[in-house]
Symmetry: C2
Subunit: 271 residues, 2 copies
Amino acid sequence: MDTRPIGVFDSGLGGLTALRELARLMPEEDLIYFGDTGRVPYGGRSREILVKYARQDVAFLRTFDPKAIVIACGTVSATALDVLREENAIPIFGVVEPAARAAAHVTQNGRVGLIGTRASIRSGAYERALEAMRPGTAVTARACPLLVPLVENGRFRPGDVVAETVAAEYLAPIKAAGVDTLILGCTHYPLMKAVIGGAVGPDIALVDAGEQCARWVKQQLEWDGLRNQRPGAGRRRYFVSDSGGDFSELASVFLGEDVHGEVEQIDITAY
Amino acid sequence: MDTRPIGVFDSGLGGLTALRELARLMPEEDLIYFGDTGRVPYGGRSREILVKYARQDVAFLRTFDPKAIVIACGTVSATALDVLREENAIPIFGVVEPAARAAAHVTQNGRVGLIGTRASIRSGAYERALEAMRPGTAVTARACPLLVPLVENGRFRPGDVVAETVAAEYLAPIKAAGVDTLILGCTHYPLMKAVIGGAVGPDIALVDAGEQCARWVKQQLEWDGLRNQRPGAGRRRYFVSDSGGDFSELASVFLGEDVHGEVEQIDITAY
């Protein structure tokens, strides 16, 4: 038993979809979320910059003495997980391995689609993980740089013609490749699940990287005896690197609960 | 006569449209461009963060001892010009005043449209400038947060259905307001001029904030005796805060000339 909090971070709001799953699966755990809204989005940046930003994000969360850190960001998970693990003696969880594991189990025909940010796709991390877990899996990957701006601007609902047009265009080659499974390799994308599902049709299973990560984190903490068994609801704290107005508003949508007044701003460059 | 360079900065690539105009109007001037590609985009950030970033951008450019600095960014011009002018004893030029001046001269019916980033529109800076230059001007302003990601992803050409759909949607209320003049209040937007012009029709005059700024800078430097009269072509140097791959590629498109191999990366957080 370990009552210390779990730290969670993302470039911005997307990671809240993973936080919601963590909170649902482990309601008694204290969760501390950091969204780097002063430097969002991460998806188009170089590995060098991403490692720098991720190190600061982790350093900030470590000031709370967390028992584990969850990288609720596909881009950082795909590009900086190894560095962060080397440099930190606490468990660091990313979304790539759990998503690849789930996709390897779900696929029947061995053809898996993958969408993510430019940096995630460029890294090849999902392909490597899938090859390790299910050798011979054919991966059709597509960078979707406009999906994060769309989601961050609240344009992710069915009926939004721009969201639907962009999604259909990105997903056409993946659908054409005959995949039966599609990894949503960025924690922003679950918000667009209905739009993405509409574009690929009902025969392709969607694997939500953040959701799979949350399940994996719970399992690992249980195996390692690190779960908080204390009764009652855990505390949730939210931090951002740029002022919280838009964050609170969108975060409430993403989390399905009101977070107004509970968001604190910090200077991430000081870490 | 002053042979020192002119410093120019933007959040990313958009400011190159202003740089191109500066270079066209003053080919003999040395121009130093900084694009903050490690923190792009600026348009959704708070004034507090924008002032912090802009101070660092100016501090970096000042290491080259420039005779003037051009804020080739609508967002910084609208939110941080006053602070930067107070703190720097060299001329600092923004795009808001020249754009408002041009629009005040161009409009016949006194109804002016304005598009810009969220931070630019929120600032009210264009409206204040227009009111000062042409009292009673009716401004219909619209924040267009998706246009910068579209341009930064190279999606700005006529025929791009997503760019056309987004532009038509943003511009519909401006068209409906009966404006005869539209300020492109962000230096990314001139790349979309054909798409924007297609959406509003031929009867609305488009005022390019970056182009107007370049003309203003030239005039001011001439008045102040600060122009470089040395014959021959000035030197162009490009700096970014994230690695130059995508920058070089897109910058070549934006500038209409090859900039491969001339882009240097710097750590802007050190300034």
